[in-house]
Symmetry: C2
Subunit: 332 residues, 2 copies
């Protein structure tokens, strides 16, 4: 196993120790297993909490900060956070205006966030709204989900809802914009290699060097089909065709993420973005904003995911609003 770890079962705690040391602007509570903005809770501001299995960094811990999340609950690698963790994060960021839970659509995540929301309401009198992110067009149901999986749209939802919360909007409005972003976003991923969960010590699946998996999930669960490995043109065209078939893009102003899955060099991500940019122009789609890089990863998996959000002027304004987190920063 080619990993930089000490103990395979303590890798998340060890990483959180590093995160705490590297980012004094975050409050990392190792016992509770949560990462919180240093200035939380802020009175009158809706708190944003997300989380999920670790191994997708910088999602979510790298998106905690001004203009984005107030707290993240990292579970063990590819494992949902437990309700106590989510409850602790919810309580830590509640400034009296309620808390929004941003949940990727995986069965364990949805269940544990729901339990935590119930506890928060019943025991702590905190109002909680929930948005479930399910942007992946590849498969209807998967190993880990009923319905579509949540992938790249999560970043868009966290950024845009975070911007609106920062402006002091009430919980219903922040939840509504989060749902709107999810509804207007579609994603599709392609894997060229598997990844290895430290505690398991073996690859999540086998993939011949000459093959690729179309419509991969972010845990290496099966996608839509396994085909002969293709060129960047073929990979990107497959992804954008699948997205466009599900949500026609022509005539839209879009926000586009070309996301490295962890083991694909930035050089290749830019090759993919170049192809995507041409395809979109050829199909009458305007790219208003773009992001290229490893933002929603699957450990060291090789591959890329493309996410496209059909913007409105208001969503664009909120995307452009200042953000200051470890992994996303601009405008301030």
């Amino acid at each position: 196993m080619r990993k930089i770890i000490n103990d395979p079962v303590k890798v998340v705690a060890d990483a959180l120790r590093g995160l705490a040391a590297a980012h004094p602007g975050l409050r990392v509570d190792l016992e509770a297993g949560i990462v919180v903005r240093a200035d939380a809770p802020r009175s009158g501001k809706v708190g944003l909490v997300s989380g999920g299995g670790s191994g997708h960094e910088p999602l979510h811990v790298g998106f905690v900060g001004h203009g984005m999340l107030d707290a993240a609950c990292p579970g063990e690698v590819f494992t949902s956070p437990v309700p106590d963790q989510i409850l602790a994060a919810t309580a830590a960021v509640d400034g009296g205006a309620g808390v929004l839970h941003i949940v990727k659509n995986y069965t364990g995540d949805v269940l544990n966030f729901r339990l935590a929301a119930d506890f928060a309401k019943d025991d702590e009198d905190i109002e909680v709204a929930t948005v479930v992110v399910d942007d992946d067009v590849a498969v209807q149901d998967s190993t880990y989900t009923a319905g579509r999986r949540g992938t790249g749209a999560t970043l868009f939802v966290e950024k845009i809802a975070g911007a609106l919360a920062e402006e002091g909007a009430p919980l219903e409005a922040v939840a509504a914009v989060a749902r709107e972003v999810n509804e207007r976003t579609r994603s599709f991923g392609v894997a060229l290699s598997p990844c290895t969960v430290p505690a398991a010590g073996r690859p999540t699946f086998e993939l011949d060097p000459g093959e690729m998996e179309l419509g991969i999930g972010i845990h290496g669960e099966p996608g839509r089909e396994r085909v002969k490995a293709g060129s960047a043109n073929e990979i990107v065209t497959a992804a954008l065709t699948a997205i466009d078939a599900d949500m026609p893009l022509r005539g839209s102003d879009t926000l586009v993420l070309v996301n490295g899955m962890g083991g694909t060099p930035l050089l290749e991500q830019y090759v993919a973005y170049g192809v995507a940019s041409s395809w979109l122009a050829d199909h009458g789609v305007t790219v208003a904003r773009s992001l290229v890089g490893p933002y929603v990863t699957s450990l060291e998996m090789a591959g890329c995911m493309i996410s496209v959000c059909r913007l409105t002027p208001e969503l664009l304004r909120l995307w452009d609003a200042p953000v200051q987190t470890p992994a996303l920063r601009w405008g301030r």
Copy 2:
């Protein structure tokens, strides 16, 4: 080959097309093979030019922008840029105050930058100063160098010299601070897997899954020794011990980079940073600033590199100055 490319021999041009589409703030001249700040040349400002083989992204193309480089010259993968490229970049950023070449110490890079500097002086009457970066303590000479290799310090040199140039300092002062940063920085890298150059199609070296290469270069060239793969503690301790033996760190205020080589997940980079942070505290070293992420990569190589710069108050001030590039942004 698990790569997202179209044509192995056109991968750099294809990536530059994507870079141009993704970053309207950069001027990408595909014919000349250079990436230039959109507002260059700026009258009276020293121009900063760097470059080298591609495959180390975001270095250097991702560091072009306000407060850092004025231009980058990306060569083919792991191949020096040619003198014409460097000359074109030098001419494109010359605002009458001279140009600083920041050159990693590889034989081809040093030679081609020197030729370009001579052409610029003789044919275009542009004053050029050069700083050669050679921070890698692993080996005295390598496959590609006489003397030490240039690695992570390049980022520090580009950021800090870029900040001083942005303030309008003259060429001698910008060159002097660049040399000072190089002299005060040491780096050491460890590889857990090789990488594959697209045009070659096979790994740069062979490494058994149970082995690691200590003191690896950024092209997969041999390092100091090959040993049994160790824990994060062992890897980080080996790197910091080698750095400290070469440049005693006790009592220093430092800037620390824990750099992913491309194929190591961010989760593991934070594990490594946690170990580094403890080691430095235990050895009487203060970390004033830190950076964790894949900044100076070797395609999809697994591993990490640690760079430590002994700061002065002035270097810290320049590090903190605003920067706006695709890969490094803060403070504005």
